[in-house]
Subunit: 496 residues, 2 copies
């Protein structure tokens, strides 16, 4: 009865993980075991698996509604709101044979890159509990890092899958808008149609990322979610037909975004990856950031346009405070949610919002031209195949200090597919603090000053591989290539 045994192993491990890092919000073991038993019986009786995820335990962010369970999304206001229906994705996962067994912690509103709320408290980093788990899918990131789940589903509007993946040493995919069905999932700022949140997988293995995406897309999510794109899983794209078969790729390496120079360990991860790619016969060029600050500025404006009203409206149901800081000392303090462009008493009009959305489209157009123009310098006859980018200017920082999501948000603005992969860990003996450089901005200076090798010791260091819109298949395949190159180069260097 393998499904029951696998589910049992993972739920026990998940409970241990929870005791260490406070990552869970719901544990529904009886239901999961009953489902696992059904699956075991089906296999025994028919000799067949029920679907591509037969018996796979899956953890779900506390935002993805499961019939009969509470999904509070960190709001006290939503305690007692039991779902009368599964989210479209949950239906699909169940049909594919998966076994949902836990829900995982999030920050109130989801609009934080750390994980704390007034119901479940704070989720901390399993590598160092003084560091943040990242967020908003922080429960997922830490649970999976502690092997309490083989595969989890998070959401990402500005980095919420990728940041916890980076900070916990995982693989994590941010798909394009509407490639994975969102219907039936609760959210902040619903109706904000310009930069939507997306669902995607986090896992210890890239094969988990691929398995999830292929299974979900092959289940025709557009029959359950009217916004899901009618686009089949594309084996040709996965075979990198449009990228020369993957034989000799050219990557653009983003060393900094023009605003903030990443900490030493992140730069070292870029150097390690560059060396591995060159050793594997690929080429790399420098990726010049194009108006990243402006792109992130439009995102900030668009969210801010209605976010405060949205948060306050939900919080008012229970009278709970809107959380205003992720600092340890400030838990629960009400000062300022930080989401308004122009002060408390100014309402952004629909027309003003449209002007920023128009600007964003213009910037996306320019970015596409910027990318296409690299065909002249790659030497492959193609534009750059993918960008390798930091996912943050630091590794997991202390609680309350994760305030800059620009390195992830820029790709949400562009709707580019991005897959996080682990590279190394912070090693204080190697990752010494460098002398100050000519700062690019105030933010850069503050970031430089925050770095202290001892504080960040042992934190995982990852990067993102970034491809074009709706290139999920190719991005997964190229991340496999990078990951294999990293492993091969590590083995080679170990032998020297």
């Amino acid at each position: 009865m393998v499904c029951c045994r696998v589910t049992t192993a993972f739920y026990k491990r998940a409970i241990i993980a929870h005791q260490l890092v406070n990552c869970l919000t719901e544990i529904f073991v009886d239901r999961a075991l009953a489902r696992a038993k059904e699956l075991d019986e089906y296999l025994k009786k028919t000799g067949k698996v029920i679907g591509p995820l037969h018996g796979l335990p899956i953890s779900l962010k506390d935002q993805i509604r499961i019939k009969g369970l509470e999904t509070t999304m960190g709001y006290v206001s939503w305690i007692g709101d039991y779902a009368d229906k599964d989210a479209a994705l949950v239906e699909i996962l169940q049909e594919c044979g998966a076994v949902p067994f836990v829900q995982t912690n999030v920050p109130q509103t989801l609009m934080w890159a750390e994980t704390y709320n007034s119901i479940f408290g704070r989720t901390v980093n399993p590598y160092n509990r003084n560091l943040t788990s990242g967020g908003s899918s922080g429960g997922e990131g830490t649970l999976i890092a502690l092997k309490g789940s083989p595969l989890g589903v998070g959401s990402d509007i500005g980095g919420s899958i990728r940041i916890p993946s980076l900070f916990n040493g995982l693989y994590g995919l941010r798909p394009s808008y509407n490639r994975v069905p969102y219907a039936g999932v609760v959210n902040s700022m619903e109706g904000q149609d310009s930069i939507p949140s997306v669902l995607g997988p986090l896992s210890n293995s890239l094969s988990g990322i691929k398995l999830f995406m292929q299974a979900v897309i092959s289940a025709k999510p557009w029959l359950k979610d009217p916004l899901a794109i009618r686009k089949k899983w594309d084996d040709e794209a996965y075979a990198l037909v449009e990228h020369g078969g993957g034989q000799k790729l050219c990557f653009g390496l983003l060393w900094n975004d023009g605003e903030t120079v990443p900490h030493t360990p992140v730069i070292r991860a870029l150097e390690i990856t560059k060396a591995a790619l060159l050793a594997a016969g690929h080429t790399v060029i420098v990726w010049k950031p194009y108006k990243h600050v402006e792109l992130c500025g439009t995102v900030s404006y668009i969210w801010s346009a209605g976010a405060t009203e949205d948060f306050k409206t939900v919080a008012a149901i229970s009278g709970e405070p809107v959380i205003s800081t992720m600092e340890l000392a400030g838990e629960g303090t009400v000062v300022d949610a930080g989401f308004r462009p122009s002060g408390d008493n100014v309402t952004v009009s629909a027309y003003q919002l449209w002007q920023q959305q128009k600007l964003k489209t213009k910037l996306r157009q320019e970015y596409l031209a910027h990318w296409e123009a690299t065909a002249k310098i790659t030497g492959t006859g193609r534009p750059v195949d993918a960008i390798i980018s930091p996912g943050a200017p630091y590794t997991a920082p202390p609680h309350g200090k994760n305030r800059d999501a620009s390195y992830t948000t820029v790709w949400n603005a562009l709707d580019y597919v991005a897959c996080v992969f682990p590279v190394t860990k912070v090693d204080p003996s190697t990752d010494v603090k460098k002398p100050a450089h000519a700062f690019l901005s105030d933010r850069d200076k503050a970031n430089y000053e925050m770095y202290d090798p001892k504080v960040f010791a042992n934190a995982p260091v990852g990067l993102q591989l970034v491809g074009r819109t709706q290139e999920e298949e190719a991005v997964i395949a190229m991340t496999e290539i990078v990951d294999a190159a990293l492993k091969a180069n590590k083995a080679r260097l170990a032998k020297l």
Copy 2:
């Protein structure tokens, strides 16, 4: 030199058409003939065509920018604004071998279903100049009806391709959002990302519709427009693999939308189509409208949220009036552009806008469930394959009377693919006015009262075939089946 001869034939015919119905805004014969000559020489020299549209003259709505030409979109304010770059679609059409040769008239702002502006005046219906051409792609509809162009490109945010197609006896496709690249095209209400306008073809033939869509999609528009969906032309979808191979389809017939009963000729077109489909071995069921009024209400609110400010901002550049009526007597009158939900001095906030956008998504979700549920009653084991719907509750009405675009707009709200096909013409001896029915609404009563067979005599009558989001290939294939059934049944009846 066949390309030159074809271009010459069409431009001469286009100029005659213009003298009859006032359909053109730009005529660039020298440029078109030079391009045709290049194509002829290329073919002579290489023995090959340059692309799938080699030598095909194409007309473009006066919204689609062509390098070096003015695109005013009916705004005096934009006179003298010469494009420094082709729109993405124009680049693709040229690469495919097409020969753009004229631009066609539109209403100022594009947000009218008729065609009049202060620069070029009014485009009238070639079947009866007392009737409207429809709009906003009215120049296209009339030019193509008069055989002044074999294929034209219009845009559709609430019916602007389909209404002129219906009113002028053409085929016209409204693709899903972002299947055809929009980049580089001017528009009203830019930045309104929730219900975007789409580009699509109008033609005298369905083969023209298919040719255009296949050529444009096969040119990978996502490499020129960051919003264009990365989704190949799907031959399996065109072969109706998900619709039983097209052998025995089940259509849902929408007799009315629950608010307005269409005029007699439109009902007759539905009856003709029903008989033809049954004779061809397909089945039909009644399509129950699901919250069409609510869906159109969200569209109206979302557009209204910033439309007036948008129109006024552009008009203010020249000081021209925002046109407020399409009535003959009222040309140029400034009263009320009709696009505000709550009066002159009330600004819709971004948060209020989001609430309507959220409602729209919820209604789309419900509509999908409504469609899927028909699997129980079709007898095919599948849900309804497509809906056959009126495109308006009337045929082309007199100028100024085309005030109800609900029958087209509802499908924009749902982002369903819709293809207009011609069925018959108004015949006053057959299409007599029926006795009054129990009116569904005030709008229904007014619509009933407007009908007078003599006024509408000879107007073309068409319908729409409506499929799911991003089902362009299947919708074209199913429209071919309906079209063939109509022609076969007409031939059969003629023999009796």
